[in-house]
């Protein structure tokens, strides 16, 4: 698994596509592939999970456990690219849910970074390799 992080609108997806030269890929936007898609995976190339932070937020709102779900997913899909905004670089939000969201995305990204073979940080469309 490769992890790509950075601020909003920094060109993370474009960076991923050009950096890894991926003719065969599928972008899942703010969702994780379901079971059927897993099985199609082999012919269909690599999964890219874009806007991963939004998936975390949705799962929180739906009462899920993103921490467990993402690692369960990664057990079945080791070869994928996860792209997430960094959302913790601001003022502590007044809304407790927003505070919790920020904190949880940060902690999940730490765990993903530990698991990832490579971690890239993208700014102005330029990737900086910070792990691997």
């Amino acid at each position: 698994m490769k992890l790509i992080i950075g601020g909003y609108a920094q060109g993370k997806l474009d960076f991923a596509l050009s950096n890894y030269h991926l003719p065969n890929h599928r972008v899942w936007d703010g969702v994780l592939p379901d079971n059927i898609s897993f099985q199609e995976k082999v012919e269909d190339g690599i999964f890219i999970i874009n806007h991963f932070h939004l998936w975390v937020k949705n799962r929180m709102l739906e009462g899920g456990c993103p921490e467990e779900e993402i690692f369960f997913f990664l057990e079945h899909c080791k070869d994928c690219i996860i792209i997430s905004d960094e959302i913790g670089n601001g003022i502590v939000p007044i809304d407790p849910l927003e505070r919790d969201y920020r904190e949880r995305v940060g902690r999940i990204l730490i765990q993903l970074a530990q698991k990832a073979e490579e971690v890239w940080r993208v700014m102005c469309g330029i990737g900086q390799k910070i792990k691997g």
């Binding site: 670089n89 995305v105 940060g106 990204l109 730490i110």
Partner: protein
């Protein structure tokens, strides 16, 4: 030596700062020229107002437990923490500048000017740096949410920016932490 560690919420900056402090402490006790009276102090700045604050403090206590830190609560006038230390050549971890600055800015009966607050914080840290063997300072990246807040909050963000810049000048090392990964920027 002074190390400045900066990161956002949930970036892993605290865990990294503890690692650095413990490693500086080990260096310090193994170096022969230094007197042996070395302790590891944790300078805590957070004031607890509610259950969530208490949970935060507890999480950090668990993170620190077993590492031999002595905790000093010093929410304002950070240089006063020195008077609470035993005599000796210590290693200190200060966490964090965002709380300290907020306390200096919003908890005073009479609100001081932004400039005065910046001076208070920087002078306090400079004194700590001088009187300790090693000082590790944790600060926050509060600058990248793109939001516009009220005047007081914008003044706070601005003060934090200036303080971070000046701390980076004081520090021999500056490290940004993101997703638990340290990036050395000075």
């Amino acid at each position: 030596m002074m190390v400045l560690i900066i990161g956002g919420s949930g970036s892993g900056k605290s865990a990294y700062a503890e690692e650095v402090t413990v490693s500086l402490y080990r260096q310090n006790i193994s170096s022969k020229e230094k007197p042996p009276a070395t302790k590891k102090y944790y300078l805590a700045t957070m004031q607890v107002y509610d259950e969530e604050g208490q949970r935060r403090v507890n999480r950090h206590k668990v993170l620190r437990s077993g590492k031999g830190f002595l905790t000093i609560e010093q929410p304002m006038s950070i240089e006063k923490a020195l008077a609470k230390m035993e005599p000796g050549n210590h290693v200190a971890l200060l966490e964090c500048i965002s709380n300290l600055t907020a306390n200096e800015m919003f908890n005073q009966e009479k609100m001081a000017s932004e400039l005065q607050i910046i001076e208070n914080v920087i002078n306090g840290i400079a004194i700590l740096k001088e009187k300790t063997a090693h000082l590790v300072v944790v600060s926050n990246n509060v600058f990248e949410d793109g939001a516009v807040y009220d005047k007081a909050a914008m003044e706070y963000i601005h003060a934090m920016g200036i303080i971070n810049q000046r701390l980076a000048v004081l520090a021999e090392q500056v490290v940004e932490v993101t997703a638990g990964i340290p990036i050395h920027i000075k």
